[in-house]
Amino acid sequence: MSLNIEQLEKEFQDKIDRGENIEPKDWMPEKYRKTHIRQISQHAHSEIIGMLPEGNWITRAPSLRRKVALLAKVQDEAGHGLYLYSAAETLGISRDELFDQLLTGKAKYSSIFNYPTLSWADIGAIGWLVDGAAIINQVMLTRTSYGPYARAMVRICKEESFHQRQGYEIMLTLSNGTEAQKQMAQDSLNRWWWPSLMMFGPPDEVSTHTEQSMKWKIKRKTNDELRQQFVDITVPQAEILGLTVPDPDLKWNEERAHYDFGEINWDEFWQVIKGYGPCNKERMTTRRKSWDEGEWVRDAAVAHAEKKAARRAELKKAV
């Protein structure tokens, strides 16, 4: 058993090329482990921060039907965050370290959640567009090479489709409503369209992680491929709503059999990533507050569990 690192790496790559999954206790290159911790935790943080913009509208949902659905969706996001944190923990990082990385700003989350939810229609647009974009990414990730991540994705994808349908239904209702309601839906699409396209990450030619990630089958499609897939799927859905996608350059390209679309404002993307989006500060402040204010509850639960265990041990001794 004196394999050197090159042999181990070669065997590892062969295993991936054969289509085998990597499981937690298997040997893996340190960079594979680190890349996964970064990507899975970023994904987990996105689920948790993603609860905030939507939570904003729970108390103001227009009907009980909408309210129970939104509550269930936000609760799902918490569950998705948990599946992903658990997957990240199999790589040897603790939950507290992961939270710490989020709260100190060391770890990122999807920049889309730094945009505000200004109207009820935004809840529709988020479900339709943001969850729609997430689904495209996540369906790809169900076949990712790291077992625990792939399994978390399968579970998440099963639950996610209700999210998108409830969002689309909200948009449909508003689009078929009064002129003011239709306007609200259009305004929401105008604001969420471009940030949704940015969700797939920077263009392939500047994406620093894509090449290695493809080789290790962490990703199976590039950012631009996924983005194109999203545009192709979503434009006809906007047409059913009778809404206009806010892109004058958008048009069907017969030759490519894809939609051509306009230039994305990458300056905005990088600004938001760097912390200058409309809600970055607010999101982090809310998370930190909830973490700090929950500390006594976490500690009390541990104290209670320890007391109970001690009492049980004493009873056993007495018998």
């Binding site: 948990l82 658990s86 579970r155 639960a301 541990v302 209670h304």
Partner: protein, 94 residues
């Protein structure tokens, strides 16, 4: 105090007649909370009728580095499978 809640592995029986299957893990201060959290996280859509939780540290796992000596000996024992035996095609119910 700053003490992390321990990790628990969660197993769910989806319906009577089937076995419990591993579905994932979670953190909880004790076994009661582990069951409650497992219910909230892993059975939101009627995925189960029974839950087991066990603290992860109590699980002993085989070492994948030893997979060769662990699992390969079974490879050349085809005689443990019914198809190993040559029988006439007209033979029924066997």
């Amino acid at each position: 105090m700053k003490k992390e809640w321990p990790i628990w592995e969660v197993f769910i029986r989806s319906k009577n007649g089937l076995e419990h299957r591993h579905v994932g893990s979670l953190h909880a201060a004790d076994e009661t909370m582990a069951i409650e959290n497992a219910r909230d996280v892993y059975t939101r859509r009627q995925e189960g009728v029974s839950i087991w939780v066990v603290e992860s540290k109590h699980i002993t796992a085989s070492n994948p580095d030893n997979n060769g000596e662990m699992f390969e000996p079974a490879k050349d024992k085809a005689y443990r499978h019914p198809t190993f035996y040559d029988l006439p095609v007209e033979l029924k119910h066997m």
